[in-house]
Assembly symmetry: C2
Homo-oligomer: 278 residues x 2
């Protein structure tokens, strides 16, 4: 391949999507690990949260967003949402020609690697837990004992900014109790909001339980794939970061910074339903 | 009008909608006060919750649902959702020919009537509080002092079934503290989920604060309008209750009973986007 064309391919953006803000923790991890990569984010804030929606609905939303991002000429697609990874990864892998990375497999791999005694806990939304996708991903690659717990109050707790107080600690206590009773030695944070609860989660589990941040694990997987395919960006200029949402760009701009760990600007609203009619 | 035609008009159903389950507390109140009325409910579970969505999005969802219910030949439309009442009542009142009842004005009226010292507190979702709609509705009919508080954790707390424990009590304590410091003597439950927190809310406010259940107030308003227009059902047979949702009918059937206070059957899924394309 002539060097110029190859360079043009390398410098295409990576597309990342989630139901809302949460996936910004994944985008933040990708941006930290791969600072030269151009990134495009889509937050489906008209349908947020996915955790309580049906599989059919989440697959439909995911396909619509993937179409939108592929029209933006991305080189790789990251499903930065646990529920969408659980429900739509295999569908999207079949229907698009670029590599697709979810957050489930990388998180499962990291957990298996870190669970010294092979006892893994999983926390996530109702949808993620009910899908059993982390459970299956861990079982596929190891004989570890796996225990799951849905934690529907964690997302609103984080979004309310109550991720460090006494109430958060009590709620964490209730949800983790059955997992700790199983003597887990690794805990998968199976929702992109949960990295913001890391401090209290770590306090609740104690030093013997390794917290597995699937945002970080997914970002490492993206690097590995691009490296293997010789598709890492060789751009010298500062990477561009673009943000699209399906509702409420102002709110996204305001709250998103908390998840992205930097200020967010120029968020644009896209009408997905209009796109589908095309 | 010939008696037969009039009777046919009278026995048309009442349409009721909400973003999810919450409006079932309104449907339950209507069914209790008007047991002969046929009722059709629509829960927009593909977009739930509305509380964090933009005005434009909520107006669009509401219009789509109103079109669907009007095709079902309803005689009156109840917006059993505080956020949708705040954002879409005036739009729907202009665009449809049947009477439309929201939950805001009836709640505001009941609060003004019950606040002995004219100091009214309002609790609701972010969307309802930001819209200031209860505030404006109270101010329009009285000189009462009004204080608002958004309580984003209440909805997931109720949906998790934690509406009676210590954590709920603590969260209620945090949210009500600033309102109680203002010596309110009536508190509007500005979200259809909140009646399920009544017990703990009442414990937190004490006997001097009157709790205003807007679900009940809206049901009384429906009765008043139908009475005035001579459109109350004269059917002798048992009323029919129908349920439609935009996602997850099984989950709705399972959880809905908690809000409707009776078992729910035969929930049907409707694809609103497909309807819009017609």
């Amino acid at each position: 391949m002539p060097e110029k064309i190859n360079s043009a391919l390398k410098n295409k953006p990576i597309g990342i999507f989630d139901s809302g803000f949460g996936g910004l923790t994944v985008m933040s991890a990708v941006n930290k690990i791969l600072p030269n990569e151009n990134l495009i984010y889509f937050g489906d804030t008209a349908h947020v949260p996915y955790g309580s929606k049906s599989k059919d609905a989440v697959v439909k939303f995911s396909k619509d967003i993937a179409s939108f991002l592929i029209k933006k000429d991305i080189k790789l697609l990251v499903i930065a949402c646990n529920t969408a990874s659980a429900f739509a990864l295999s569908v999207l892998k079949k229907s698009v020609s670029i590599p697709v990375v979810g957050v489930i497999e990388p998180g499962a791999k990291a957990a298996v690697k870190n669970a010294k005694n092979g006892r893994i806990g999983i926390i996530g939304t109702e949808g993620t837990v009910a899908s059993g996708s982390y459970f299956k991903a861990v079982k596929k690659i190891s004989g570890a004992a796996v225990f799951q717990q849905a934690c529907p109050l964690f997302v609103p707790l984080v979004e309310e900014g109550w991720n460090k107080g006494k109430i958060a600690q009590d709620i964490i206590g209730v949800y983790l109790k059955p997992l700790l009773a199983k003597n887990i030695d690794a805990l998968i944070l199976g929702c992109t909001h949960y990295p913001l609860l890391k401090e209290l989660l770590s306090k609740a589990t104690g030093a013997n339980v390794e917290l597995i941040d699937s945002a970080n694990a997914a970002a490492l997987e993206v690097k590995e794939i691009l490296l293997k395919k010789d598709m890492l960006s060789d751009a010298k200029k500062k990477a561009s970061l673009k943000f699209y949402v399906s509702d409420n760009p102002k709110k996204f701009q305001k709250i998103g910074g908390k998840f992205f760990l930097k200020k967010i600007n120029g968020v644009k609203k896209i009408n997905l339903e209009r796109i589908c009619e095309v």
